[in-house]
Amino acid sequence: MTQFTPEAQRLRDEYFRRIRGYVSVVGGTTVEDVLGEVQGHLDQELQGVSQPVSGECLSAVLKRLGEPSSWVCLDDLPWWRRGVLRAGFGPENWRLAYVTFALFVVGILGGMIFGWLWWAPFLAVSFVTARAAMISVVLPASMPLGQKWLIYPTLIAVYILLAVVVLAIVPLFIGAATFVVLDPRSWHSVSGPMAQTLVEEIQHWRPDQETLAILVGISAALATAGIWWILLACLYGGWVRRFLEAVFHPFFKESAEKLRRVGLVAGVAMAVLAFLCMVLRKVKT
């Protein structure tokens, strides 16, 4: 009996599942008969191949065997029944890819009409189906381009949001906390149009308590961002790498090293900027 790697086993099971589906509907022969033929063919074809058989090796054999639908005679069926069968027992990753794209588009269209909050649940569900589609692709390298076009818009949209959260949540929290601690009274007046207040304060530049608090808050946020990014870049490896790769699958793996370097440089730049802000505050006071 041929031994498979877990990846190859999944590939084989998916192929068998789809054949079982086609044969059980089309009939003409028993499922056991056909699966016996397939297994016999695979055993013969993979004889002499080093065990356990890899996903790539099995994929090549299955490619020669053809689509699971080729194991039944679909020619005698009307076109609409062939279409229904292909939709029902087609590759899981394609069906999920279509669902992903449909949810993404409905979310955007709904967001344009009913407001962007409408988009959130659609994007969330679309993200789940996109990840499910990615998982059902046993060999990611062989993922068809068409599938990428259906899945990637959702993944990119969610990953951008996640990246903003990962990179900015800690610095923003520290910056805001510093500001509130230094000047609790002005919190209510500034928490609304904060940007506007900032611009006005810089124009007039009177180092009162509120302005100082804002400056220190920004400095603290910048400094924390710098340290946070440097920390992320330095911690990269081990479980952090695995975590980030899992969260940003499949993009992070390829550009991880480049991103780490960019994060390190940006972190140092932020820390220097924070230091300059602090110096400026000291000089002005």
């Binding site: 056909v34 297994q39 016999g40 055993d43 013969q44 065997l65 053809g66 039944v72 005679c73």
Partner: protein
């Protein structure tokens, strides 16, 4: 347009030829599925998806052209052997005769076209 025409034409051609080749392969003696596929591989461009061979064998068996027997194998699971039945042999003789006639006719037309040019 020519590509679509060519693809349709080759698909139709393959369908008929596959039956003929499978029957001829079994005519030499009983074979199991994988062995038949291996023989057909030698005809370049004949088999696009090897999985299509098995449903044809199944159909030939249903139509009584082929007999099957299951035998234990030392190399793995039991193998299903295919053997040409009496009616299969008669059918194959007719098919081969017709194929030879058609092939000769086509060659004649092709060579005539060549000399005219």
């Amino acid at each position: 347009m020519t590509n679509i025409f060519y693809n349709n034409w080759t698909t139709q051609l393959r369908k008929g030829l596959l039956d003929l080749c499978i029957l001829n392969a079994i005519a030499r003696g009983r074979l199991y599925g994988y062995d038949i596929v291996r023989q057909l591989r030698q005809v370049e461009g004949l088999v696009i998806s090897e999985g299509t061979v098995y449903p044809i064998l199944s159909r030939l068996h249903r139509d009584g052209m082929v007999e099957t027997s299951l035998e234990e194998s030392s190399e793995g699971p039991a193998r299903k052997y295919y053997l040409l039945s009496q009616s299969g042999q008669e059918l194959l003789e007719r098919m081969n005769r017709l194929w030879t006639v058609i092939l000769e006719g086509v060659r004649k037309i092709q060579s005539r076209k060549g000399t005219e040019q």
